[in-house]
Structures are given as C-alpha cells and as structure tokens.
C-alpha cells in the first residue's frame, strides 16, 4: 500500500500526538507519544500499536474490541469512554488525544484500575427473588411486563457511570454509603421484574444503596455506551417508588387501609448463616474470618472483603462403585450431568462460604 502522508483525520499512516498517563499508585504523569493512526481505527487500536512499538510495558485492560465486554473503560480527553468505541476520526487532525485511567477507582498501573468497589456493591445488592413455589423452568412472563427490566439487562458493566458519578468521583468518603448508578438500575430492574417477590427493594435502595445521594444530574446517562436511560428509566422511577413508601402520606395511608405492599425487613444473610456467623464471636463483629479467627483477616472483613478467610473444605466429588467419576449420563444415576462444582455445592452459595462480609449484616 502506498504510503500516504496526510493531515486528514483517519487517513492511513498519519502520526498523531497522544498523551497517556503512566504510573501506579505511588505516582505517575502524562507522557507524550507520537504514534501512527490509520483510517478506521479506534483509540484502543492506537494503544495496541503503542504497546507494539514505543511502550511495550503500557498496561491496559481490554477484551472484546466490540463494545460489549466493558473492559476498556478509560478517560479520553477527559471524558469517560470505552476506548474500543472511540473512533480516531472524531478528533481534529491536529488534536492531542489524552488518555487517563478512570479517576474514581484506585489505579493498579497505567490505564488499569481496581474496580472491586463495584463488585462489592454488586454483592450487597439483594438477588432476584422468584416465588418460592416456582421452579426456574416454569417462569412465565409477558413481554410487556419485562420490557422495562430488559433495558437494564443491556448493561455491560463497564462502570463508566460509576466512574463519572460525582457523588463518589469527587467525594471518596461517600463510597461506603453509595452504590452508584449501575446498582440503582439493578435495583430498579428487580423491583420492576414481574416475578420478583421481594417487596422492600425501595427501602433498601434508599437506606443501604444511598439513592438519596443522587441529584439526577444525568452524567451516568450521558456516558452509558449502551444508551441505557439510567436516570429517566431507572433512578427517577426508583426515587418515585421510594417516595411512595417513605415520603407520601397518601400512599402510606392507602397501604395501611388496604394492606398492600407489606414490607418485611431485608435480610442480607439467611438465618442459618446468621447463627453460624455469630456463634463464638463478640456481638457486632463479623465472624468472616472463617475458621482461622485471624485478627488481621477479621479486621479486613470489617472493611468488606476478606481475602484471607478460610472457607469450608470442599468434599470429594461423587464417584461410582468403582471409585470413579461417572463420565456419561448413561452410566450416571441422575437425569443430568453431574455439577462441575461438586454435589455438595448449592447455589446461591451460603454467605459463610464467601470471602465477603455484607457491611450491614449485623443490622438485621
């Protein structure tokens, strides 16, 4: 292919100025690079070229390059974006492109941040609660009833909304009290779900997720690569549902008179785990140090995640009379293939088998 030297946006072989934040938690700065840009490329392509040429040690998280895995979230010219979906042709030909890691989360190295905050918040969000007498294969729903929830299922968990939200972006101290837009739409998704039986998601959203911190300035909606109407269809309806329960005397009176929408308290741990968790530990302290009762592990459990916790030892898999694993369904004594997790594992996992302690579990 003939070498084309042109200043036009996206023309092949153009050298473009990039400023990329390099460093880790001990510090770092923006470093300048001149890098080739070809027609049709996106920012992630250019970062890959940089890794192949000038900066082989540049750290960057990516996976699908199709805007569906949510890995390559970063800030490009100050805006939170997916780098695989940011076309180079959207910049002026002589524009310097500045790429930095997500600001809201701790940096690991270069463009890679530690987004575990989001996974902790995900674990704190109560799961889907279908009717107890309904087996998973028997769920029947009308499309019109699940449509609203389905919009939120488009979420790819890129955490751009979590990153841009000023409640935690500019106020680190709000992190324990605030779950963020991604988990508000999760709460809305489940509260609007026709088969979800949990009736206190509204109270939970307000009390534990910190829905009241949101001042609906809509940056989450602005940055969402899936174009989910996070604010209009998720957060505001959820705020209105909270008003029904907490701030609207008419609705409150109606619910008392007609006995609608009784609100049992959210239990973040099952009674079984609750009793197990509290046995032998002082009141008000998580026993998520597991079997070790290591004070250091316990201290970390108090902060949310306990990576050193000893979980119960798994039992050996079920074997046949000859002491071997049954390999096919034909020779197995059950209708389906054996669970790859072992027969002693049931889902959802009992909370004491997790290395995660819900921060509110002692409240309930």
């Amino acid at each position: 292919m003939a070498e084309q030297k042109s200043t036009g946006a996206g023309k092949s072989g153009t050298k473009r100025q990039f400023r990329i934040w390099r460093g880790d938690e001990s510090g770092g700065d923006l470093q300048d690079y001149m890098v080739e840009v070809n027609e049709g490329e996106v920012v992630l392509d250019v970062i890959h070229r940089l890794q192949a040429t000038d900066a082989p040690d540049l750290a960057c998280r990516w996976n699908c390059k199709a805007g569906k895995c949510g890995s390559c979230s970063m800030e490009i010219n100050g805006k939170p974006r997916l780098s695989c979906m940011t076309r180079m042709s959207t910049f002026e030909p002589d524009e310097t492109v500045t790429v930095t890691p997500l600001r809201t989360f701790p940096v690991i190295r270069d463009l890679v941040t530690d987004v575990s905050f989001n996974y902790e918040k995900a674990r704190e969000t109560p799961a889907f609660a279908p009717p107890a007498d309904l087996a998973p294969g028997d769920y029947r729903m009308q499309q019109v009833d699940v449509e609203r929830s389905q919009e939120f299922r488009k979420c790819i968990e890129c955490f751009l909304c979590q990153n841009v939200c000023h409640v935690i972006r500019d106020h680190e101290e709000n992190k324990p009290a605030f779950s963020g837009p991604r988990f508000f739409i999760r709460a809305a998704e489940l509260d609007m779900h026709p088969l979800d039986e949990k009736s206190d998601r509204k109270e939970y959203a307000q009390r534990e997720q910190g829905l009241g911190y949101c001042n609906i300035t809509k940056c989450c909606t602005e940055v969402c690569p899936e174009h989910i109407k996070i604010t209009d269809n998720g957060i505001i309806p959820m705020k209105e549902r909270v008003v029904d329960r907490r701030y609207d005397p008419l609705v409150w009176l109606g619910s008392k008179i007609f006995r609608r929408g009784e609100t049992p308290q959210t239990s973040v741990t099952t009674p079984r785990s609750g009793s197990a968790a509290h046995s032998g530990s002082p009141a008000g302290v998580h026993s998520h140090a597991g079997g070790s009762h290591d004070p250091r592990a316990e201290a970390q459990a108090q902060r949310g995640v306990n990576w050193h916790r000893e979980v119960p030892k798994p039992t050996a898999p079920a074997v046949d009379d000859r002491g071997k694993l049954p390999l096919t369904e034909l020779t197995f004594d059950r209708a389906a293939a054996p669970s790859p997790f072992g027969d002693d594992v049931t889902f959802p996992l009992p909370p004491e088998h997790l290395n995660f302690a819900h921060p509110e579990q002692d409240k309930h």
């Binding site: 934040w21 460093g23 938690e25 510090g27 770092g28 700065d29 923006l30 010219n77 100050g78 805006k79 939170p80 524009e95 500045t98 930095t100 890691p101 600001r103 989360f105 701790p106 940096v107 690991i108 941040t113 530690d114 575990s116 009308q142 019109v144 009833d145 449509e147 841009v164 000023h166 409640v167 972006r169 500019d170 106020h171 680190e172 609007m192 779900h193 026709p194 910190g210 009241g212 911190y213 949101c214 001042n215 609906i216 300035t217 809509k218 940056c219 940055v223 209009d232 505001i236 309806p237 705020k239 209105e240 549902r241 008003v243 029904d244 907490r246 701030y247 970390q300 995640v305 990576w307």
Partner: protein, 268 residues
Amino acid sequence: MTSTATKPGGVRSRAAIAAKTLRTDRWWFAPLITVVGLSAWVAYATVRVFMHKWYWVEDYHYLTPFYSPCVTDRCLPEAAHFGRFLPDWWIIPDAALTLPFLLLFRLTCYYYRKAYYRSFWLSPPACAVPDGHKAYSGETRFPLLGQNLHRYFFYAAAIISLINTWDAILAFHSPEGFGFGLGNIILLGNVVMLWAYTISCHSCRHIIGGRLKHFSKHPLRYRAWTGVSWLNVRHMQLAWITLGTLALTDFYVMAVAAGWFNDLRFIN
C-alpha cells in the same frame, strides 16, 4: 496461572492526575446558557409579578397566566374569577395562591433539578468536571429532602393548568360577544404547552402507570404510561418551551393591555 498483580484489598490510591479536568470541549457552555436563561426569566417574572398592572385586557378578556387567578383586593373585579380575598399589600402577588406552587413544581422538577444543580450549584458543573463543593450529601437531608414532594406540586400544577385552560376559554370574547384574535392563539398555545409540560412530569409518569409491576394486568394504564413516557422524553424541551410561552403570553397581554399595540383580531 501466574499473576504479577497484587491482590486487591487495603486502601489504594487513585491515579495522580494533576489537571482537575482534561475535557477539551466547551463543557462550560451548557451551564452558562442555563444560568443566563433561567436568570433572565426569573428577573422578568419577578418584575411582572410585582408590577400589579397590565394583566387584563378588558375588551377581549385576556388574563396573563402570571395573574391567574387574581385574588387580591386590588384585582379588577372582571379579572377575578375566583373572588378577591387577599389584602392588596404590594409584596403579595395577585396570583398568590398559585404562583408559589408553580414555583415549587418547577424547583422540584427532575429536569430543573439537573439544570440548577449543574449550573448554579456546580455539583457538578459538567460530567467529569469536579464538584464545586468539598462535602456532598445530595438529597438525603433537609432542605433537599423536600425534593421528594414533587408529586404534590404536580397535583397542584395540574389544577392550575385547569384554571389556565378556563382562562383561555373565557378569552374567546369581544365587546360584541364571541371573539377570536391572535391573543387567543397565544393563550391556547401556552395552555397546550403547559399541559404537555405538566403531563410529561416524571412524577406523573410514575403515578399514571410507572408504579405498576404488571403492565399486562392494567392495559389502559399501560397505554397512558406509554403516552406519558413519549412526552417525558421531551420534558427538558417542554420545560424551556413553557418558560418561553409563559413569558411571551404575559408580554403579549401586557403590551395589549398597556396599549403598546393592538390585538390582531380574526373574528370580532
């Protein structure tokens, strides 16, 4: 599997980026025009509300929405459709029963909240631009907790829209009986837009059907919800359009009442 990354845990720090924002676009433009637009409107409305004159066109029964319903002792008897029972102290607006609710309806509106939190309170001024404040508690405490009363102001605004509709119907008048002029078109246009803005309210969307869990069991409410949702997408545009139509309607009535120009009459 080998991994050189350290395990997450403990307190890690964010990337040390010196610049407060690296945005290169004109992010300050939207908050700026919001401040200019809202300030200009509030200034105009304040002047007009305390002017206490030029709100009623006797010949054609045009009443400006800023004075509807006119309930103080200084109101012209023909303009006071709901009686005159408030004292005529200058600080009391002639529409003292409705204006506070309209103000609160717009103050607690989900769109205006976004607009003024961003532009006046700088919290945040734009996406990925730092908050102008050190501490932040959002709408969790008094007085901002009061934003949750939006639906009550919506009920009030719906009643006030009915009153404005009544005013617009009464305005089909001339000294000869029925009449129709440019003023009627302006009053009607304003009322239509006010209804569109009021109905497109997020609280209305919730009340009309958003709170339902099973749309399939409530087909009529679902259809209504679909309609409100269609309008709701345009809530911001309607918020600005109604500021425009309110000011235009008021200015037109003021101009005709003051005799600056005559109403363009089509019939009588």
